[in-house]
Structures are given as structure tokens and as C-alpha cells.
Amino acid sequence: MQSERSDSRAKDGSGKTEWVLHMRRIAAERDQAAFAEVFEHFAPRVKAFLMKSGASDSLAEDCAQDVMVTLWNKAHMFDPARASVATWVFTIARNRRIDALRKERRPEPEDLPWGPEAEPDQADILSLQQESELLGRALKSLPEKQRELIEKAYFGDLSHSEIAADTGLPLGTIKSRIRLALERLRHAMR
């Protein structure tokens, strides 16, 4: 019992960094087995995200497959000191959604003029990944109604006046968590 619990905790704690290692294998070695595991985990989640945003089953299926192909093609651009794998997958899925559902362009910020990056610091990677995990737990522990609002803001297409109203969203409750994530990011960007 004792060993079982510590086993599962160890697995839990390394969950996010494990995906980082998968991404490294995909980027460096074009490791298809690692990709298959990433696919099994993330593709159904991306599909669910797209369906919650209003895509039909077949459109969501097609787009989720596109997202995974993009993940393979751009694996070398993933930076574990700046985002968790889930966050990076989310941004790819979000952009695919804007393209597929709204048929709009998505203006992206200009790249930072950093030039070729040095290998990110291990401590930065670990703290960013841990922070992402804590943020996930903080979101999970929100009261159901508040969590629904956050989900609606991210998954639904909130009308602009609803966004402009800037009420209701329980930003305050997750703000300290976001602030911590922000500090990690600032540190990583230095």
C-alpha cells in the first residue's frame, strides 16, 4: 500500500516533465513511438476542446489530426522553459480553431530577437513545469460555477460585450496562481 501510493505520486509528479522528455525525443530523434504516446494523450483532449468550441465531430477529428501533425513538424520549436506541453498544444489547437471555425487570420506577436537559443536551464524547465501543474490544480479546485466561466471564456466564443463587461470571470481567485506562473516566465525570459 505504502509503496503503491508513493509510486503513483512519483508518476503524478513527473507527469508534465515526462511529456517534455517525449517532445525532446520527437524533436531530436524523430521518435515515432514517443509521438504515438503524445498522440494518445493529447489528440482526444484537443478533439474535445474543438467540439466544446462548436466544431462537429468530423471537423474536430480532422483538426485534431492536423494539430498533431503540426506538433510533429514544429517539435523543435517547443521551449519547455516557457510552456508546458499541454499549453503548447493548446496554442496550436487554438490557432487551428480560429482558422477552421472563423476563417480569420491570427496576428501573432513578432518573435523576440533572441537568435539561436542556448539549451534552456534545467531548473527553469522544472519550475515552469511544476508551476503549470499547480495552476492546473488551482483551476480544478475552483467552485464548479467559476470553473465553468473560465471554460466558457476559453472554449466558447464569448461575445465581445461579454468580454468587455469584465465581470463574473473569477480571475481574482486564480490570480495568485497566475502571478506565480508569470514570475516563472519572467525568470525564464531573462
Binding site: 474535445a48 513538424n73 472563423r102 492546473g136
Partner: protein, 218 residues
Amino acid sequence: METINHHLNDTLLMGYAAGTLPEAFNLIVATHISMCDECRARLGSFEAVGGSLIEDADAAVPMASSALGDVMARISGASRADDIRLPVAREARTFPAPLVDYVGGDLADVKWRSLGGGVRHAVLNTGGKATARLLHIPAGTKLPEHGHKGLEATLVLQGAFSDADGRFARGDIEIAGEDLDHTPVADEGEDCICLAVTDAPLKFSGWIPRIAQPFLGI
């Protein structure tokens, strides 16, 4: 990098992270972030919220049984997509990259139309309900007093302007709601160039601009 005193608010950053803003607002957010490391980092944390939501196991929908095989077939001949980005001389340009894409060039390439009183504007081509336009306000000139029905965001790209809310210089963004009836005045010395985004037509208080509004497409 500019010293920026007026930043994006959480609402616009979160909407940009979530991908729910109209295209014109996406453009002004992306343009501001191109100049502002602080908002770039804040965007990262709002994207992390999206990552946490997508990670939630309750939300998985099974893929088609052939999906993995289909994707494997697509990726196994694909070569690595190297995004080769040519180094750009940032100092040389007035407009950050996202804006260059919409203008089709830099400041010199803008096709201005007169608004009267020396003020000029150019509407950019964005989809959706909101409108993005560039404004050229000659140095020392006062923009006609106006209020808004909705939200107006104004990002300074050159020069500076001041109104009741303070002074706004390159990189600063002013976000005004319905309540603000403001009269921006450009600083002396340099013409002020702004990117302004509105989700409803501006309401000019003076009668001449109001009559001209439908013709000018404001």
C-alpha cells in the same frame, strides 16, 4: 525596447490567449506584445490556463480508430519544417511585424485618407465586427472630441498624445470604455501615429465630424 507605462488589461490578454477576440483586437494585442515583454510574459500565463483546461482528463473525446495510423502516415514522409526567420532590423521600422502584415509595408506604405483638420486615417482589412485603423494626428493637433458605444483601444506607434487619462507614447496602449469622452492631443514636435481598434462606431461630439462619419467609414 520602449519604456511602456500603459499595458494591456487582463480581459484583452485573456481573450487573445483564448482566441475569442475579433481579429482587429487580436491585431492590436499582437502589435503591443511585439513591443512589450511584460505583456508577453503575462500572455504566457493566460495561455497556461488554456493548457490546464485542455489537460483535464474528463474532457477527452475518443479519436477515430484509424486516426493514429492516418497521422503516422502523414508524418513519416514529412520533413522537418524549419521556420527560417531572417533577422529583421527592428529599429529601422515604425511598425512591428504583425502590423506590417496588415499594412503591406511600413509607415511610408500607408494609404491615408483625410479626416479633416490635418488628421488622416487608414482602415485596415480585418474580418469580424471590430474595426482597426491607423490614425495620423499632426504634432500639436487635437483630435475631435468623441465618445464610444463600445470599447476602443489605441496603441501609439510614433510620437505621443495626452488626454484626461495621461500621456501615451510609443508602445503605450489606452483602453477606453463607453464612459470616456476624450480629446486626445498630439505632443508638439512629432506627428502622432496610432493604431486604433473599436468594436462600435465612434461618436464624434462636433456636428461636422458626425455628418461626415458615414462617408468616411468611421
